[in-house]
Symmetry: C2
Subunit: 201 residues, 2 copies
């Protein structure tokens, strides 16, 4: 395709999102209207909706979902589910925090956690990721599917706990390490040194 058009598009998108996060942080999410964001970014309110389907999507972080699902699908099938999923989450967190815009990521995370509407939407995104993880595992009987859902949801819940803690610490702690600790607190440390018992599925 072309470059100039996509370049301008990405440029305005970043401008809109940057001003949105700034205004949301300064005045609060609910106290900031989409018109305010549009005016700050120098565009019309319609343009905001052309680039972001909803006001919430100006803040939400979604990436790495496909990456996580892919890693889990490629992980050795002999290990217990929570270890396979937990390892993928820790590795994805390492990639996430390796990005250069950690301060921007933290600002979005803080908004997501403190604003009820954003928190609800984020939790629903995590729920969608849970479905993606289950879909990445080989489909078995309904019983195995149920166990996969239970394991995935529990792992993601532990990860979310680590995310909240990481944001509360202003990103000073190591996120992958926090996720590991949360997983260990929920499932016991045995899951990272060896199977707790023969869990023949």
């Amino acid at each position: 395709m072309s470059t100039l058009r996509q370049q301008r598009r990405a440029e305005t998108q970043r401008a809109i999102q940057t001003h949105a996060i700034r205004l949301f942080t300064e005045r609060g999410y609910d106290a900031t209207t989409v018109a305010d964001v549009a005016e700050a970014a120098g565009v019309s309110p319609m343009t905001v909706y052309r680039h972001f389907p909803t006001k919430e999507d100006l803040v939400l972080v979604d990436e790495y979902g496909a990456l996580i699902a892919g890693r889990i699908a490629a992980s050795p099938a002999g290990q217990p589910l929570v270890r396979r999923i937990g390892t993928a989450l820790v590795e994805a967190a390492a990639l996430l925090t390796a990005g250069t815009e950690k301060r921007f990521l933290l600002a979005r995370l803080r908004l997501m956690i403190s604003t009820p509407a954003l928190r609800a939407r984020h939790l629903d995104n995590v729920y969608a990721l849970q479905q993606a993880i289950v879909d990445a595992l080989p489909a078995g009987d309904p019983e195995a599917d149920f166990r996969a859902h239970a394991a995935a949801s529990a792992c993601l819940a532990a990860m979310h706990t680590a995310l909240v803690r990481w944001a509360a610490d202003d990103g000073r702690a190591d996120l992958p390490d926090l996720i590991s600790k949360a997983l260990a607190a929920a499932f016991g440390p045995e899951l990272y040194t060896g199977p707790c018992s023969g869990k023949a599925g």
Copy 2:
């Protein structure tokens, strides 16, 4: 205190909610306006908002939160966290399904799962329950608090998986049993017979 006024109030509340669930199930949540619900219930749109803060609250189920927190606070402190929390969740589910309005509860649950906006709000309610559970545990150092959050979130995620499965089965399965199975699938069956480390070592 209570007689005619509270009786009428509860009566109109039930009328509004019943018609709301019926219309939402028939036409879909998004395709039904609050004005439709008000008209069906024979009240003004204003009255709907007086009894239910938002349209979503016409569907959401919240009860048993305080009950669960209380049971966890009263559970023996020697057991692992996931066992204490899991036991309380199973017992609360037994009380929930013992109610007489199982069909009504199932209708609300189906709406909550299939409608994105309701699902997100419900997940945020579960998150609030997680906080209530952690607050019900004796406050320790930040590390213990973190572990409590991780354990509570993982248990509630497993419970949510069981809820989804129960709704998919149209309530034919036994909900407490499903929750037990989900917890066992996530944490291993050892957590219900004894500590994991004792058996592995």
